[in-house]
């Protein structure tokens, strides 16, 4: 595969409203995940691992944390003279700011015009998976398709956003698509990744805009299935979309399974992220740890069970923390009891506090709160 043929496009503000707690001060793409990552690390690393070296990140609002995280793109090897990482903030061309994928694609038309790549790999950023995008591109080229969409077979996850289910021939050709279908059993539901030639994408986008049709699923995909060759690419591997607080919690907890970690963090296609230069985690005398994922910079004096601890978290003496996701630099004092709690960054839980949530409804504590 020629590295320069594909341009990556990532929608960073996608579905921000689905988990308002976490996206109050950031984009969906910069939601912290898995102890040391941000959601965008997965899609960005997947692209880079497939040799894509020009990536545009479309932003709309609250993108400070995202820019801070991405920087020059160095951790993903995207700080380059030729190509590299481009952050595409809102660009007003007369009308007000964009709200849909189609509007945002139309507004970065200039970026497309200045790119030499033949194909575009479009992706949302609200999911966790490690997919070999090279294979998806190969399938796109081999079948001679106009558009290749990723899908998986199974029951549609609860609260899954903008679901599209596909009717697919045995040779992979997409015959029909249903948007937000009411299906009880298993079906081929779409994953938010698509490969399309740059030329066709620009044509379809401008067609939509000129007809004032701004629904990506209905107007760009569904309407065009009879006119173009849509190819389905099945991805059966580990995939979790983050469309609710529960999704977020469960996806973090899924990392405790060795099989999931093995698949997600395979050494062949590493997931890159911003480096923070923390020392290794330190466990003190009398600490008890069970079934937990712990990042660098943590200091643990108490008990933790079924937890994901981000970088720089401190757990005080005699505190019992179970079933929790504790984000970066949060400090848990002594003699605390936490169960099913998600804390955002920089939260301070003072001594002797106790907080309990439930598996289906974890308690969430806002960034920088002091309890």
């Amino acid at each position: 595969m020629s590295a320069n043929k594909v341009l990556g496009i990532i929608f960073s503000n996608i579905y921000d409203e689905k988990i308002r707690e976490l996206t109050e001060t950031r984009t969906m793409a910069s939601v912290p995940f898995g102890g040391r990552y941000r959601l965008i690390d997965f899609v960005l690393s997947n692209m880079v691992n497939a040799g894509i070296n020009k990536v545009g990140v479309i932003t709309k609002n609250n993108y400070q944390s995202l820019m801070d995280h991405l920087g020059s793109g160095k951790p993903w090897d995207l700080s380059r003279k030729r190509e590299g990482l481009f952050i595409l903030p809102p660009f007003s061309n007369g009308n007000s700011e964009y709200n849909t994928r189609i509007e945002s694609l139309a507004s970065v038309n200039r970026f497309f015009q200045h790119s030499n790549e033949d194909y575009v790999f479009l992706s949302d950023s609200n999911y966790v998976c490690n997919i070999d995008c090279k294979k998806m591109l190969e399938s796109h080229i081999q079948t001679g398709a106009d558009v290749t969409v990723a899908y998986r077979f199974g029951r549609i996850p609860e609260k899954y956003a903008d679901t599209v289910s596909y009717e697919i021939d045995p040779d992979g050709r997409v015959r029909d698509a249903l948007v937000k279908p009411n299906i009880d059993g298993a079906c081929n539901y779409g994953l938010p990744m698509m490969i399309i030639s740059k030329k066709l994408l620009l044509k379809l986008v401008s067609d939509c805009v000129s007809r004032n049709q701004y629904d990506f699923e209905r107007d760009l995909i569904q309407r065009n299935i009879p006119n173009y060759h849509f190819n389905g690419y099945e991805f059966p591997g580990f995939f979790r979309s983050i469309c609710s607080m529960n999704d977020y919690f469960e996806s973090n907890m899924a990392l405790m399974q060795p099989k999931v970690r093995g698949e997600l963090f395979t050494p062949e296609r590493p997931i890159y992220t911003k480096v923070r230069d923390d020392p290794p985690a330190r466990y003190g005398l009398g600490s008890h740890v069970s079934n937990s994922l712990v990042a660098d910079g943590c200091e643990i004096e108490g008990d933790i069970e079924n937890c994901v601890l981000f970088r720089g978290v401190h757990i005080g003496k005699n505190s019992k923390v179970s079933n929790c996701v504790i984000m970066q630099d949060s400090q848990i004092g002594q003699n605390c009891r936490l169960d099913y709690v998600i804390t955002d960054k920089d939260v301070v839980i003072k001594n002797e506090r106790s907080m309990m949530g439930f598996q289906s409804y974890p308690v969430f504590i806002n960034k920088g709160s002091i309890v």
Binding site: G34, G35, R36, K74, L255, M256, P258, R261, L264, F265, P270, I271, Y272, V275, D277, D278, P279, P280, A281, R282, Y283, G284, L285, G286, S287, H288, V289, S290, N291, S292, L293, V294, A295, D296, G297, E299, V308, L309, G312
Partner: protein, 408 residues
Amino acid sequence: MLPKQDVVAMILAGGQGSRLGVLTKKLAKPAVPFGGKYRIIDFPLSNCVNSGIETVGVLTQYQPLELNEYIGSGQPWDLDSMTAGVRVLPPYQRSRKSDWYKGTANAIYQNIPYIERYSPEYVVILSGDHIYKMDYSKMLAYHREKNADCTIAEIEVPMDEAPRFGILNTNEDESIYEFDEKPKHPKSNKASMGIYVFTWKKLKKYLEQDEANPKSSNDFGHDVLPAMLKAGERMFAYHFEGYWKDVGTIESLWESNMDLLDPNVPLDLSDDSWKIYSRNPVMPPHYISKEAKVQNSLVAEGANVYGEIDFAVLFSGVYIAPGAVVRDSIIMPGTRVEEGAVVQYAIVAENSVIGKGAMVGQRPEDMKNKDEWGVAVVGSDCVIQPGAVVPPKAMVDAETLAEEAQKK
């Protein structure tokens, strides 16, 4: 011509470090892994950056490949700037008088052209085998204040250990009147830390003189410093307080790693204002399983712990199987300790496998003859067979293991 740099630091990283045995068989001493995610050279490099020194030469000679690769462009330490930054300086061939680095002073002498490009006022000479955090800018300020030609950092050591060090004997104003190399009867306990600040003009003159002297061993401690003292140059001792350890031996390397687990040792790696930078592995956070027992340990990202660890330093990607026990030991990147294996008082280097039920090292309290006790060392890429025993103080490397296996 490059922009002038007030200060250039030179890190001596060429020594073999033979006292570290199998650990430095294929690796220069400064590249030896330390403290869960670092290499020894991260300490002087990070100290330089944190002290505002942006021009650093690293003198390499012995097994430089891994060290070169590790330093790379210097980006992890912010030393990849356009005009300054870190340069790896191996010996090279020239039109006449080419040679290996004959001694520490000769290594700097051969790189006079590199230093001159920056026309510095001061040159800081550092070793690549010490673990410490130090603000060199304070030492430079002291050097200026004393209007010194040479300033040597000094730390107070217990009097009974003083005979192991180079001792500085000073007057009341901290000026040095005598060097006492490993004295039997030390007059003071001010040990030289091997950290020197020179006024560059003076140092250059003495390096040239030293090079012209065929009898010289071209070493700072033996030749250059005594010559400067004899000639009456202004030499001062700079007092340092804090953690400092020469990790040139297996025992001191082991101890220094264990010091990181002691909350009372004044070496805080989590201090945000004085970070120790390193080339970070691309790995997920580490995982501690349900059945694991973890206490008093340092664990880096990418490790998977299913067994029991106590007073252990685990590097990235280490795997401790269920039922395995690691106590008072250092396990370097990528090594696997299989089921039922017991590793105690040991250093296991990179990418090795400790087979099922194998025993590496022993606790001193379990030894009949205490004199036979010592830290056991397993070199890199070793496969210790299931049930095998590596006794305390032993050193094992992959090649001898392979030879032994052939004989059988």
